[in-house]
């Protein structure tokens, strides 16, 4: 039974096994950004309200500012850097939510964007793709993150658009 002030953790980040030693108090958001240098995950409040720091832990969206790095030992973390797929030719295939954000002008400064993308990707992947997305679903997916630039209209539009792309792909 060890009480540690520092731990070496093994985490699969965006499919790649990583090992890093962190103080017990290190927030997952900081570990990703500073220890693993994956700065795509942003920090807007550090008290759980804005959602900019949202990442997937074992596929589920969580606020990385409300998780300790030591708590993800042995787990898989996906960040915005891991959202696009390798196309096998040195390029990448964007995730439908990324495509939709670009197409619908769903970002301005881009600071909130990674959090929205991760939440939306998980939200849309979890739903039944054969059906059209409802406004309630859109509200639920988009509703927990703050954006100061866009007024959300285009983020909601992107959510519908991405759902459409995913529906098409499933057909």
């Amino acid at each position: 039974m060890i009480v540690s002030t520092e731990r070496t953790i093994s985490v699969t980040v965006n499919g790649v096994p990583r090992e890093t030693t962190v103080p017990a108090r290190r927030l997952l958001s900081d570990a990703l950004r500073h220890d693993l240098q994956l700065t795509g995950t942003h920090v807007g409040c550090e008290h759980g309200v804005c959602g900019a720091c949202t990442v997937l832990v074992d596929g589920t969206p969580v606020r990385s500012c409300l998780v300790l790095a030591v708590q993800v030992d042995g787990k898989a973390v996906t960040t915005v850097e891991g959202l696009a797929r390798d196309d096998g030719r040195g390029g990448e295939i964007l995730h439908p939510v990324q495509e939709a954000f670009r197409e619908c002008h769903a970002l301005q400064c881009g600071f909130c964007t990674p959090g929205f993308l991760m939440t939306m990707a998980a939200g849309l992947e979890a739903r039944d793709r054969s059906t059209d997305i409802t406004e309630d679903e859109v509200d639920e997916i988009v509703g927990g993150n703050l954006c100061r630039c866009t007024g959300y209209a285009n983020i909601k539009k992107a959510c519908r658009h991405a759902a459409g792309l995913m529906k098409e792909a499933a057909e």
């Binding site: 039974m1 060890i2 009480v3 540690s4 002030t5 731990r7 103080p23 017990a24 108090r25 927030l27 900081d30 550090e46 008290h47 759980g48 959602g51 949202t54 589920t60 969206p61 969580v62 606020r63 500012c65 409300l66 998780v67 300790l68 030591v70 708590q71 939440t119 939200g123 639920e140 997916i141 509703g143 927990g144 993150n145």
Partner: protein
């Protein structure tokens, strides 16, 4: 906003956890959705965090539809999201899913635990009131053994419970809804997903002739600890379709003693208590007819 230093342990058994918790300044870490903001703002600086997430056996929802012990037992590691989507639990105690859907936003529900929110004893939390309204209890494990503590004995003040010293709340028990009883839950919050400015959970029980035999309510963000108010007097014996829910709302207003804060005056909360009581009782009564 970074936490002060602390030691961290993630025991794999309850006994280990309890031993660790005997140390001075040790604190349980469950979902962390309330604790981590406090740590980051340095409003709390425990010496050691005892992370209970690796302890087996605490992650189940056990539903007993009827008979002795009918109700829903929720383990300490059950996340809000599981309760939200638990169809069987919703059958036996519909308030669980109804209240949980008002807790924060999905990403927080994915990690925050229902038992954690009860152990946190925030009178603005939905689940503390639901525990009270359903007449529930928690199971508290200490080095001396496990015991059940009724909700009324558990909550002693805002963010304060009767449990001191090394203890883990291992589960919460929400008794099943009695027959011919309906429930409803509604809240008013400034932004969707925020802690409620005021919320109400109610139960209404009818007799065979669809007359009210019981009407009870518990409120969110009203008072220092969850309370259950019996509103039966205002509507007892009245038929579902003609019951004077307004009178029940008016009665409720006289029973509560809310405080004012940044987002709502005490008077406004009292107004909402009345309005939400009226609305929810009417819905709960309709539902009671069909159960």
């Amino acid at each position: 906003m970074k936490p002060a230093p602390f030691g961290y342990a993630d025991p794999t058994s309850l006994d280990e956890a309890l031993t660790l918790l005997t140390e001075d300044g040790a604190k349980v870490l469950a979902g962390g959705q309330s604790l981590l903001p406090l740590l980051s703002m340095r409003l709390a600086s425990p010496a050691t965090l005892v992370d209970i997430n690796r302890i087996p056996g605490l992650d189940s929802v056990v539903v007993t539809p009827s008979g002795d012990g009918a109700g829903v037992r929720v383990g300490a590691l059950v996340r809000h999201v599981e309760l939200l989507h638990h169809a069987e639990a919703a059958q036996v105690q519909p308030l669980l899913a109804r209240a949980t859907s008002n807790v924060a936003h999905p990403a927080i529900r994915n990690r925050g635990t229902t038992v954690g929110s009860i152990a946190h004893a925030d009178p603005s939390g939905e689940m503390t009131s639901v525990l009270a309204l359903t007449g529930g209890s928690v199971t508290v494990a200490t080095p001396a053994g496990s015991s059940a503590v009724g909700w009324a004995d558990f909550f002693v003040g805002p963010l304060e419970t009767s449990v001191h010293g090394p203890a883990v709340v291992t589960e919460a028990f929400f008794p099943a809804l009695p027959p011919r009883t309906g429930t409803a839950f509604e809240e008013v919050s400034r932004r969707k997903g925020d802690y409620a400015v005021c919320g109400a959970g109610v139960t209404v029980t009818l007799d065979e002739d669809s007359r009210v035999t019981s009407a009870r309510a518990s409120y969110i963000s009203v008072g220092l600890v969850p309370e259950v108010h019996d509103l039966t007097d205002a509507v007892v014996g009245q038929s579902v379709d003609s019951a004077d829910w307004t009178a029940a709302g008016a009665l409720a207003r006289t029973l509560v003693d809310p405080d004012g804060d940044l987002h709502a005056s005490a008077d406004y909360r009292r107004l909402l208590v009345g309005v939400l009581t009226e609305r929810t009782l009417a819905r709960a009564a309709q539902e009671a007819q069909n159960r």
